[in-house]
């Protein structure tokens, strides 16, 4: 488990400089009264140099969040509120992506924020060579001046080399490459302009296990070399525990817990997080019982009242059916300043009794009883 060691050993960034601040982001699918509310007032901050994991069951809105934040959500998606502010950690440029015009947004894309998409199969244009697709992105942003094309070509070769693809593959068409190679091409493409943020949307789901590992290790190595921030989306919590600095757990279009991966793993505060952790064998340490989460993921068309998780929650109480908890500090308050949770158990006034043992593991260094 070299990755885990590397991730935990890496010193957290001293100054937590935000590069992407998502505030109150809401998204609907559909345009009329019957629209599905896919995201509701999501707050999330990505800091410079950080690897932020987004996890949750399928349909919880993790991909929607990534696409909405980049304004790439296809119809019938529509953003109904909030802001997504990018601030460069290098020179401070940026702004609210939701208020940018087409030209501004186009210029910002790929230069500041690049994305590696889910399906490596369909992410590449089947009728162009991979070289052409690498080069057109570079030229769109750095196309001016003489010799731009030659420089872009040289850069494309350099990028292929960086992800371990032979340079003579520049003239290959996507169908001539294996799935793993195509995903490497996508990674190379994402890094072409040295963006500050790279969003990875389940970059390894379509690949076999060995290939998955290789790709993930490569991403982390490149991240250490080039120093970009990563939003890593996956349903595989165990993978996130290994590589993410911080994890945000999503449920029914909301973030229910946001904490460092160490904290999520050792001291989950939300019943859903605890449930997710019980869905796979522990990475190390003593074995624990494997148990899934009872019930099925929520139907966004027909959401329950109050806390959206309460029908499946083993610790639910009456108030949960009425109040939809907001993301806020944990019950341990100032002892855990860096983490947030959306669960009424953490609200001393609302909760019927002490926090259940499993969700109440004391924070480290907490001396107060």
């Amino acid at each position: 488990m070299t990755l885990l060691d590397a991730a935990t050993a890496a010193t957290p960034p001293r100054e937590r400089k935000p590069v992407l601040e998502i505030r109150g982001l809401s998204v609907d699918y559909g345009y009329d009264e019957n629209a599905v509310h896919a995201l509701q007032g999501v707050d999330l901050t990505l800091h410079a140099g950080e690897v932020l994991g987004l996890a949750g069951e399928s349909g919880c809105g993790k991909s929607t969040l990534a696409y909405a934040a980049t304004r790439l959500l296809p119809p019938p998606g529509v953003i109904t509120g909030g802001s997504v502010t990018f601030t460069s950690a290098r020179d401070g440029h940026g702004g609210d992506l939701l208020r940018m015009g087409d030209a501004e947004l186009r210029a910002q894309r790929w230069r500041d924020t690049a994305i590696v998409f889910q399906g490596a199969m369909n992410s590449l244009n089947p009728v162009y060579t991979i070289g052409r697709q690498l080069i057109d992105g570079i030229l769109a942003h750095r196309g001016r001046g003489s010799g731009a094309r030659d420089r872009a070509r040289a850069r494309a070769l350099e990028l292929l080399d960086m992800v371990g693809i032979p340079k003579d593959r520049l003239g290959s068409y996507p169908h001539q490459l294996s799935g793993g190679m195509r995903q490497r091409v996508m990674i190379a493409m994402a890094l072409a302009l040295e963006p500050e943020i790279v969003i990875m949307d389940e970059p390894t789901t379509a690949l076999d296990v060995v290939m998955q590992r290789q790709i993930v290790e490569q991403i982390m190595q490149l991240k250490d070399e080039l120093g970009f921030s990563v939003i890593f989306i996956t349903h595989d919590v165990s993978l996130l525990l290994e590589l993410a600095d911080r994890i945000a757990i999503m449920y029914a279009g909301r973030i229910v817990e946001d904490a460092s991966s160490e904290e999520v793993y050792r001291r989950p505060r939300h019943p859903y997080t605890a449930g997710l952790l019980h869905s796979f064998p522990p990475l190390r340490g003593p074995k624990r019982d494997l148990a899934g989460i009872p019930g099925s993921p929520p139907d966004l068309v027909n959401l329950p009242t109050g806390c959206k998780f309460h029908p499946r929650c083993p610790y639910g109480f009456d108030e949960c059916k009425l109040t939809d908890p907001a993301l806020g500090p944990t019950r341990f308050g100032d002892a855990e300043p860096q983490r947030q949770v959306a669960c009424l158990l953490n609200d001393e006034k609302a909760a019927p009794g002490p926090i259940p043992l499993e969700l109440g593991v004391r924070p480290e260094g907490d001396r107060i009883a």
Binding site: P74, I79, L98
Partner: protein
Amino acid sequence: MSVQIDPVTADPTSTATLTAVAVRSKRGRRVQLGILRNRKALVGIIILAVFVVLAIIGKWIAPYNPDTVNATAGLQPPSPDHWLGTTATGQDILSQLLVGTQGVMLVGLTAGIVATLISVIVGVVSGFIGGIGDEILSLISNVFLVIPALPLIIIITGLLPSAGGLTVAFVIAITGWAWGARVMRAQTLSLRKRDFVEAARANGEPLWRIVFFEIMPNLTAIIASGFIGTVIFAILSEVTLAFIGVTSISDWNWGTVLFWAQSSQALVQGAWWWFVPAGLCIAAVGTSLTLINFGIDEFVNPRLRSTAANAGVLRRKKIRARIGFTPVYRGKDNR
């Protein structure tokens, strides 16, 4: 004559989406209701229904005998006596159109049914058996597809001593089945590899059962759209044949009306009432059928459906839904 080509169903890559929906549509009732909920399809069905009714009752409601010559009332423009005017020999044009509707519909329907039958048999068999049999059947349908159908129909009907409605329908069917067979084959091919068919095969279900109970229900939408496409082709071909005078010029159909209009110099004499209504009838029936086919397309291909259904709301809210630039809509005043 124009024939609607539909690359969405013809494109092998899109068959995956098609099947995904087709498989879900195993619950037959919901399919039928769903089609009616599509506005395009509904408009098409209503227009078509009007013409079907006219085809049945046309003979009785026609105010005159379409053949009756009236030398004193030649080439009259529309009037209360003759709503659509008269021909050079004083025949009532409205009556000719009404009586002719039956011929058009009957030939369209017969040719559509026969051609669809051939295309389903050839397509499904070809897709299902694979191997050399498939190669030969696809080759035959491709040959039929490439050979220009209309000249072939003209040659055959031209050589026949007398070409009545049914003969024409069969000739059209024999030349017009290939497109459907091609689409059907592609679809069967992708269905054959699906789990539920594999499972049925593994269970040792007899071939006819697999074909009729596992494969055919999932081809419903494609068979329907193939049938409608063939009916359009048949109607246009039949009218064209009648117009150029290859088929019997004494059987009334819309093409015959146009044949007489053309040969009696209606154009030069400015007798627009003689040739405009017949063409509009053809266009109306054609449009209604293409509308139904679009309805089926939108029903089967969700990518087409999502925007079609929302166009009104989008315009009202001034949202421009497009790929790659998600709209931001913050309530009525929109920021």
